[in-house]
């Protein structure tokens, strides 16, 4: 080669090699020096992979660097039993898996007496049973524990600085806090505030003019949330000791419509039982306003059982929702179906189905004709209903069930005679006639006749139009539903939270009644129950000397008919029309968190003086709270003293005067039951498996709800705390000074219930990391300590799977009468309109409390779309502080049908504004085909304004908010007031559940 050319090649090589080396500089440098890039990992090969918690050869040998404890996940309200792996050195949770003993995390679950060592080695890769008993956690459960280290976690008691809601705080000693809240005083330089000691007055009426409202003590309201296993402690030990009638949970902003509808169906407005399908054996499942495998309770269990059922082609699962979610799955072909429905249209759909079932006689006549318990036994059926009971149609006893000697009277099909139901095996189903009882003529209709009249009040075309589901589909679904005998089941939940949600749920349940599925395998179940925990063979933890039988009127106007109030009686006495009442009363609703602040502000029924909220967050969870924020800002107007027990400063506790830190997941005590949907007894036990990070009381106990309540109780000299306040069934008395005094005794009750559990041995104590509890267990439980530890080691007590059924029925059955007609509902009137409530399910259009129709007030022209929320399979309101969860679900969107988007000239990715009568939100548009046209779907769980989303000042130091937590949309900002009421959010017109679905909105493109 020519020398010049060779030099050219060499020169080129040199230049390009140099350029390349510059480009590869970092890579080569790291390679040559064998250095590391970025943050070095723990191990060069296994990166940051964790060490295993043990090794399985023939047996399981635990890695002593970790503890593996049984506990309960609180990522949602299912309260799954889990296993927690904790690094002993750092006391950090590193991994969570399912508890193989728990039915909520595994199916089948391990036999309870399986040795603990086996519960690990059985799950090893070489075990033939590892797939069978593999126990899991969901996306949330896998990661949500990282909120323990969230920088916004409250670890010391806080007192507000400046005005309420400014989110400025200073740390305060817990003893000083207790002192201030009990004694009161000019705590904020805003005037005198009455302390809890003064409020706790059980004798003086809070209103001398109306003693029926109850004593002053009622002016404390305690607001909780879902039961994480500690509600019994809060309610029975504190609320009932303080003596206030006011304890509310979160039900009115969660699923009250479902709970109330089912309570009406089950005829029990005291205990508010609820039902779930027997997922394992069901052959046709109709989900309305709920999306299993997307959400629901029990979340994992139902998802797993429905997957199995569908893939085995044993179960057809139909989901009726405005949004296509994970509930439908093309992987299972025609074993799954989605029926799109208009938001709020489910009541029309179900009433249409009921009409078809009655018209075509597709109902189980023989079952419906069973009028009594005796008849049920004779017919060997699973339950009985009042379908054949006779409802008085006029006179003073209108809407009462015709009875004699407290026994319902029915018409015997054999001879057509009127008889006590206990003497009749099959009663006449459709009755509309006069009957005579003891010389009195009554016009009566059977409950079934009333249902028929109600169902036929509108034609199928009306139902089709209102539901957005075709007539043909209504008919075919009714026919299909009734073709599975007793193995057709129904389920419903949050999708029914609209203005007619109560009747929606009631109607959904009645579908089940029409096929007679109660207590049948594959039908409906009230759950398998629980072992005796609070009141057991060893202790009655809920009773003590001085426990108050609270009385009076609740602040939320529930559990009391308007007709019993002084307002009503006064108007009647003055010959005035007693209707409308100043505002709505709810005679058979159990609790309404959504009305506390507004009622107190209106001083109707009365004004509260103090509120203790416990992990509550109605300002985020309630639809339409703009007005409440304004009210809360003014202590004198709303509630003068507001104490929040919360591990975070959320949207609601931001407005508190004091914040007391609570423990969080894996740091708390408790005993949870389970949502129905399981057929055997479940008690899931939890106890601190890692050291809580909060500040402590003088006695060394970390500050949490339980310890705070104990110290507060002592400070207030409440009976039920301190020395001799726990009752043993042996007559002995024990002290309640720490949470463990209460909960460990509950565990002991569980251990000793019916046939006592086995004794734990030392090897299992070591495996379960119970050594720190041995001394406490011995001290508290005496000779039963090993049995109690046995329960703790397994995370609770779980009945064996084979005890769930007896032949074709459930072993744990619901024994009370099923109410096709609910007389309590029927005998009450709406306090504003005087309208009688229908005692059977009935179709109503979406309405205000006054009866004015939503579609007329908020016309389609102005608000062409209907917004609804859907539950996230990943997010939940307590999970925003979980950092890892954001990797799975970063934000939420405005979901819209592409057709609707096109009509509004909108494109995927547009930034839009949604406006309702009550508020507006901004969001990014996401087109998806699986959503009903002309609706807007929003996944709930983000769009936060608290819990680290906004800046917080503590001790004059500003903690900058994490902007990502603001991302997404909170649909509740679109909620609006019921304009027919005074300062009240839109709600179900019967039971007051917060209406957060089917909100009329309009959409506008911003960019």
């Amino acid at each position: 080669m020519n020398k010049n050319r060779r030099n050219f090649l060499l020169g080129t090589s040199l230049v390009t090699a140099s350029a390349s080396m510059i480009g590869y500089k970092e890579t080569l440098k790291t390679a040559i020096t064998m250095g590391s890039r970025g943050v070095p990992t723990k191990d060069e090969i296994y990166a940051n992979a964790q060490e295993t918690e043990g090794v399985i050869r023939d047996t399981f040998k635990k890695n002593t660097k970790f503890s593996i404890s049984s506990s309960v996940c609180n990522g949602c309200v299912t309260n799954c039993g889990v296993r927690v792996k904790i690094d002993q050195k750092t006391q950090k949770v590193v991994k969570v898996t399912g508890n193989p003993y728990s039915p909520l995390s595994s199916d089948p679950w391990l036999p309870y007496n399986t040795p603990l060592e086996k519960s690990f080695s059985l799950l090893g890769k070489d075990s033939s049973q590892s797939s069978k008993y593999r126990s899991t956690v969901c996306a949330r459960g896998n990661v949500v524990f990282d909120k323990a280290d969230d920088p916004f976690r409250v670890l010391k008691p806080l007192k507000r600085v400046g005005k309420r809601g400014e989110n400025r705080w200073k740390e305060i000693d817990i003893e000083v806090l207790l002192d201030e809240i009990t004694k009161g005083g000019n705590l904020f330089e805003e005037g005198e505030i009455e302390g809890l000691s003064s409020i706790r007055d059980l004798e003086t009426p809070l209103n001398s003019k109306d003693p029926s409202l109850g004593p002053k003590a009622n002016q404390l309201c305690v607001l909780g949330t879902g039961d994480d296993g500690r509600k019994a402690f809060m309610v029975n030990r504190f609320v009932k000791s303080f003596g206030t009638h006011n304890y509310q949970g979160h039900t009115s902003i969660c699923g009250l419509s479902m709970r109330a509808g089912e309570a009406a169906y089950l005829g029990d407005f005291k205990k508010y039982p609820h039902l779930k399908p027997d997922f394992e054996n069901c052959e046709y499942l109709l989900n309305i306003g709920t999306s299993p495998a997307q959400a629901g309770n029990p979340f994992k269990r139902q998802a797993k059982l429905l997957s199995i059922g569908r893939t085995q082609k044993r179960l057809k699962c139909v989901t009726v929702t405005p949004m296509l979610t994970n509930s439908d799955n093309i992987a299972v072909g025609d074993m799954s179906e989605w029926i799109p429905v208009l938001p709020g249209g489910d009541l029309a759909f179900v009433m249409g189905m009921i009409q078809v079932i009655i018209a075509k006689k597709l109902y189980n006549k023989e079952y419906l004709s069973i009028p009594s318990k005796e008849a049920q036994k004779t017919m060997n059926d699973g339950s009985f209903s009042n379908s054949t009971h006779l409802v008085i149609q006029s006179g003073k006893s209108i809407n009462k069930i015709l009875e004699k000697n407290k026994t319902a009277l029915v018409i015997d099909v054999k001879d057509g005679k009127l008889k006590p139901s206990s003497q009749v095996t099959q009663a006449k189903l459709f009755v509309d006639q006069e009957v005579e009882v003891d010389g009195v003529i009554h016009v009566v209709k059977s409950a079934m006749t009333l249902l028929k009249e109600s169902a036929f009040e509108f034609d199928l075309d009306t139902y089709a139009k209102s539901s957005g589901i075709s007539k043909a589909k209504i008919i075919s679904t009714a026919e299909e539903f009734t073709s599975y005998g007793r193995k057709a089941a129904v389920d419903c939940h949050g999708g029914t939270m609209h203005t007619t949600g109560f009747y929606t749920t009631y109607a959904v349940m009645v579908l089940g009644l029409l096929v007679g599925n109660m207590n049948f395998k594959g039908g409906m179940s009230a759950g398998g129950g629980r072992y005796k925990d609070w009141k057991g063979s060893q202790y009655n933890l809920l009773e003590y000397k001085g426990k108050v039988k609270t009385k009076g009127c609740r602040i939320d106007k529930t559990k009391m008919a308007y007709e019993k109030t002084l307002e009503f009686k006064t108007k009647v006495a003055n010959r005035q029309n007693p209707y409308p009442a100043r505002d709505t009363w709810y005679p058979f609703t159990n609790a309404l968190e959504s009305e506390i602040i507004t009622n107190s502000t209106k001083e109707y029924p009365y004004k509260l003086k103090a509120m203790i909220s416990w992990n509550a967050n109605f300002l985020y969870g309630q639809s339409g709270t703009k007005h409440i924020k304004k009210l809360l800002k003014e202590p004198k107007d709303s509630i003068p003293l507001f104490i929040a027990i919360d591990p975070f400063i959320n949207e609601t506790s931001k407005y508190a005067d004091y914040i007391v830190p609570d423990s969080i997941i894996y740091e708390t005590w408790g005993v949870s039951g389970a949502w129905a949907g399981y057929q055997t007894k479940i008690n899931t036990a939890k106890f601190p498996v890692k050291t809580p990070k909060q500040a402590k009381f003088k006695n060394g106990e970390p500050i949490c709800m339980d310890s705070f309540i104990i110290e507060l109780g002592k400070k207030l000299s409440l009976l039920g705390f301190g020395k001799n306040s726990l009752k043993g069934n042996d007559g002995k008395k024990y002290a309640l000074n720490r949470p463990q005094d209460f909960y460990i005794r509950a565990f002991e009750n569980i251990a000793m219930d019916s046939k006592a559990v086995l004794d734990i041995d030392d090897s299992e104590i070591a495996l379960a990391n119970l050594e720190p509890y041995i001394e406490t267990l011995k001290k508290i439980c005496g000779k039963n300590w090993r049995k109690t530890a046995y329960v703790m080691a397994r995370g609770g007590r779980f009945e064996e799977k084979e005890h769930g059924y007896k032949n074709d029925k459930l072993a744990h059955s619901y024994g009370k009468i099923i109410n096709l007609f609910n007389p309590v509902v029927a005998q009450n009137r709406h306090s504003m309109t005087a309208e009688r409530f229908s005692g059977v399910p009935r179709f109503y259009k979406a309405r205000l409390n006054s009866g004015e129709l939503i579609e007329e007030l908020y016309s389609k022209k102005e608000y062409p779309l209907l917004a609804f929320s859907y539950k996230s399979n990943v997010l939940s309101s307590p999970s925003v502080s979980g950092k890892k969860l954001s990797h799975v679900r970063f934000t939420t969107y405005v979901d819209i049908n592409p057709k609707t988007a096109q009509e509004s000239d909108l494109k995927h990715g547009d930034i839009v504004k949604l406006t309702s009568a009550g508020g507006e939100v901004l969001g990014m548009l996401r087109l998806r085909n699986g959503i009903y046209p002309n609706t807007i779907g929003i996944e709930h769980g983000l769009g936060r304004d608290g819990e680290g989303a906004v800046d917080v000042t503590i001790n004059d130091e500003v903690k900058k908010g994490i902007i990502r937590r603001k991302s997404g949309i909170n649909i509740n900002k679109l909620g609006f007031l019921d304009s027919s009421r005074e300062l009240a959010t839109l709600s179900d017109f019967v039971v007051g559940s917060n209406a957060r679905q089917a909100l009329p909105v309009k959409i506008q493109k911003l960019s």
């Binding site: 080669m1 020519n2 050319r5 060779r6 090649l9 060499l10 080129t12 090589s13 040199l14 230049v15 390009t16 090699a17 350029a19 390349s20 080396m21 510059i22 480009g23 590869y24 890579t27 080569l28 790291t30 390679a31 020096t33 064998m34 250095g35 590391s36 890039r37 970025g38 060069e44 090969i45 093309i330 992987a331 970063f890 934000t891 995927h908 990715g909 939100v921 901004l922 969001g923 990014m924 996401r926 998806r928 769009g943 902007i963 990502r964 603001k966 991302s967 997404g968």
Partner: protein, 364 residues
Amino acid sequence: MENLITTLSSITPDRSWGIDVVSYFWFNGASIATFLIFTLFYVFEIKRFKPIAGFALLFSFALFIPAMFNLLDDLKQPGRMVNFFLYGWGDVITSPMKWGSFLLILYPAIIVSAIYLLFKPYIIKNSNTLKRDRRLIYYISIVGIPIAILTHGYTGYEPAIVHGNLLWHTPLLPLLFLIAAMVSGFGILIFLVPLFQRFFSDSKKIDKESLALASKILSWILILNFIMHVLWLSFATVFNDGDKYILIQFFKYYISSSTYIIYSLCFIIPTIIGFSRLRYNTFFLLMSGVLTVVGIWLFRWGIVIYGQSIPRAMPGFLKYTISYHESISFASNIAIFIAALTFLMAIFPWEKELNSKYKGVGHE
């Protein structure tokens, strides 16, 4: 409202494989292909390949070097590359990456040995071992053929074994990779050999016969490539069960029509050239070479980058944006290839080896 949104419909997670892997597959494939072209004469004694065999061997090594740089750069922790060879041998049967770790030692050793033996007579002037060396080349090349095939075949296994990727998970993928490799090997040869013969050889003459033959063989391989594509995609999008729907969406909506056009032209034009008289025209030869190089690079890009765009847990296809670091890596990689090629072509007496081929054989 303040939003931090990174994509419209999905959050694109960190991509496991980026442009480094695309380039690695390309360079690796071209390297083994050019080695195999070398064996066409030195093992199979196809005389028409005699003039370009030496080129092919040098090219194979020059292509191998940037391939290794891609691998090194793709490692998030290049300082630990030695662990690649020290650990994981327990999985050697089921891990294509472990196969890679010894193939990538064996293969370059073979090339280097062959280069030494081939050019030794021209460097050590009085070598008496010509016949022995020639025999050794023959034996090394015989061993080298399966090694070379495996060195690229294993790269096809790597994506193919990923069950969750509907585009990748086919037993045809290793075969597709090998055929693509041969296309790129012939393509790069057809592009570069004329340039070196024209501008850097003493005779300045381009061996059109050999290159024309190479072009024709390339055309046949392109036909085979087409058939393989049809087999692969017909099963994937027509006869596959549920999986086909997302792949149909992928091919219909995600890949732009211009991509299809460019991709097709990159194969159709060289095929036409190879089967026509145009293969004797230097300009069209060069065009054919460039198009096949680009076409196969697009194929690698489609597999690696587009393949990872198919979502598994989110709605909507994921989006890839090349990062600044990746751009620098790509440019550096091209530069190192040019550096290696020009260096090898500068120091090895390929023109002497070339000239020895033309004794008694005419060329333009």
